[in-house]
């Protein structure tokens, strides 16, 4: 089942001055439970593409359709609500809330969605256990290693059962061992939760584990390889 459809999307910065075509006519689609990596050199448009897919930025032209909804048709407040219900984010710098514990960080988005306490607790413990932090639920981010923080971020991204998770360079700040652990966890959750994962990455290990590798150059898709 198609969860994401990107149709001839352009993103042009500084339109009135010197034009920079960050995304240059990208057309892609993603199916449920895909585990895809977007690769390419710096400045190739990976992060811009993820921001457009996540509704954090608007395309100059083209359409992004998530589960049948064209993002361009949504008002600002509707888009925020849509993001909350359909998209999970994992950021390069983890971006956990420092004053909240691992558990509170994970259940935060469920609180925004007004899940009941029992539902929140069950889902939070399930996810933290799945990312190997069942014994660190009450630890604050400052008490966790980088790898552990990123695992909490993955749990947070999956908490509300989104259609897909966007991860911008998730292993960039991690050592090789933490990166490997994180990737194994993400692959396992992708398999178990049937949630699509889309990463932007430079990391060869991520590329190696991805089921699909999309290569961008100068904002264009130059290859789209699916592994069997």
């Amino acid at each position: 089942m198609k969860v994401l459809d990107i149709k001839d999307v352009y993103k042009i910065y500084n339109e009135s001055e010197i034009q920079v075509n960050a995304i240059n006519g990208v057309t892609l689609d993603f199916q449920e439970a895909e585990f895809a990596a977007i690769v390419g050199p710096s400045g190739s448009g990976k992060t811009t593409l993820l921001n457009l897919i996540g509704g954090l930025d608007n395309p100059t032209s083209g359409e992004i359709i998530i589960d049948g909804t064209n993002l361009a048709t949504l008002k600002s407040s509707e888009l925020i609500d849509f993001r909350m219900r359909n998209i999970g984010f994992v950021f390069q710098a983890y971006n956990l809330i420092p004053v909240l514990t691992a558990k509170e960080n994970v259940e935060f988005i469920m609180s925004l969605q007004k899940w009941s306490r029992q539902e929140r607790d069950a889902r939070t413990y399930e996810l933290l256990k799945a990312v190997g932090l069942g014994d660190r639920v009450n630890s604050r981010p400052s008490r966790l290693s980088g790898g552990q923080q990123q695992r909490v971020a993955v749990a947070r991204a999956l908490a509300s059962r989104p259609k897909f998770v966007l991860a911008d360079e998730p292993t960039a700040n991690l050592d090789s061992r933490s990166a490997a652990t994180l990737l194994e966890i993400m692959e396992k959750l992708n398999h178990e939760e049937k949630i699509t994962f889309i990463f932007s990455t430079h990391d060869a290990r991520v590329v190696k584990m991805a089921h699909r590798v999309i290569t961008l150059e100068d904002g264009k898709v130059v290859s789209d390889d699916k592994k069997e």
């Binding site: 954090l56 925020i80 609500d81 993001r83 984010f89």
Partner: protein
Amino acid sequence: MRSLVVITSVTIGIFAGVFSVALMNGMIAQRVNDALNEEISDIQITGKKFRINNDPQLVINNPSRVLSAIRSVPVIGGIVKRTTITGMANTALKSTGVQIIGINTEEEKKIFTLFKKIIPGSGDYFEKDSKFNLSLIGEDLAKDLGIIRYIIDSSTINNLREKRLPVPVVNKLNTLTGERFLNEKQFVKKMNSVFSAREAKKYGRIIKKEAWTFRQGTRMTLTFLDKDNNQVGAMFRIAGLYDVSNSIFEKSTVFVKSTDLNHLIGLTDSSFHEIVVKINNLDQTESITNMLAEKLPDLEVLSWKKLQPDLAMMTDMVQQFYLIFGIIILAALAFGIVNTMLMVVLERTRELGMLTAIGMNKKKVFSMIMLESVFLSLIGGIIGMIISYLVIRLTEHTGINLSQYAEGFEALGYSANIFPQITAGFFGIVTILIIITGILSSVYPAMKALKLNPVEAIRNE
């Protein structure tokens, strides 16, 4: 740390504001109390034209009718009758204009507390019988008339030594042994020439108090017009000196026995110019004044607010003054809170960007900043109010002694010992104002937070 700075600044601001208001409340309450208990009481009744021309002939006619009319009004706490006349007080050294009030001492004690204000050692409140005319004058009038002298002798120095004045100060004072000063001005001038400014400020008051002398039974002459407009002069011995917080009252009011005064003016013993009425409930002053005015249309009935309009204006305006004062303090605090909350937004750019990205809507982001601002303000405010409450409780009975500035305070009619006081309702108003301040000062930072672009915010390193 940042939150602590905001909480501390709000705490200090609220404490300063609440305690200042409590001090002002205390000062005003003391001034009103003193005026009502020592000077004018609640309501005064005189002949229609008496206050304008002070004619001694304008006594209250048919006094029994008037008194029974007053007694028929409920909540009357006491009535005194006075003979009042303007005149001059004279000594060999000086003369000054005064108001001479003839009183019945037993009646007066039921309404006024002046009998408690006699300076120890200066005499008494007409307690002793005397074949002479007696008068009671204020300490400041005594100073003006040159009745109070300042003498430095061996007993003065011994007393000061016992009070543990530093040896160098006592030694300097020793050089003045045997000197007499006719008035306070000369004495102070000498003290300032002998002592350093710091010593004069620190010990001047104690030395002055010790060097102060007054001879009981000192005489002065009071001159005034009798009922037939003839100049009358009579010698009065000073029975005692009173000391109240209002220097102007002290300098201008002489009390004598009404029988003595009536005799000199040429009035009968039962005649009087003025009836002073005390009521049991001050809140009913105006209604009872109106009631009495209706019952006694041929007389002038004035409440204390009409008798001392400056005092009335002060008590009426004080609430508005507090409001302006509060707004100034809270506005200053608001700028601090705005600044801090802007720092919060700046420091949490990434966090706010992430929250917006994962689906926190604008209303919730706005509320989050606002709640934090209100919370910090309220915590600081509550601590400030608790500290204020404790300090007020600690000082409301002992008072805050500002005797170094006593002359300045007394010149304005205030006591130099201030008893701060505050009402519980005031804390409620302050709490509401703090919440409003917290909300208002969060608007601009919250608007800034809403304008953050999540893409830029997350990218922010």
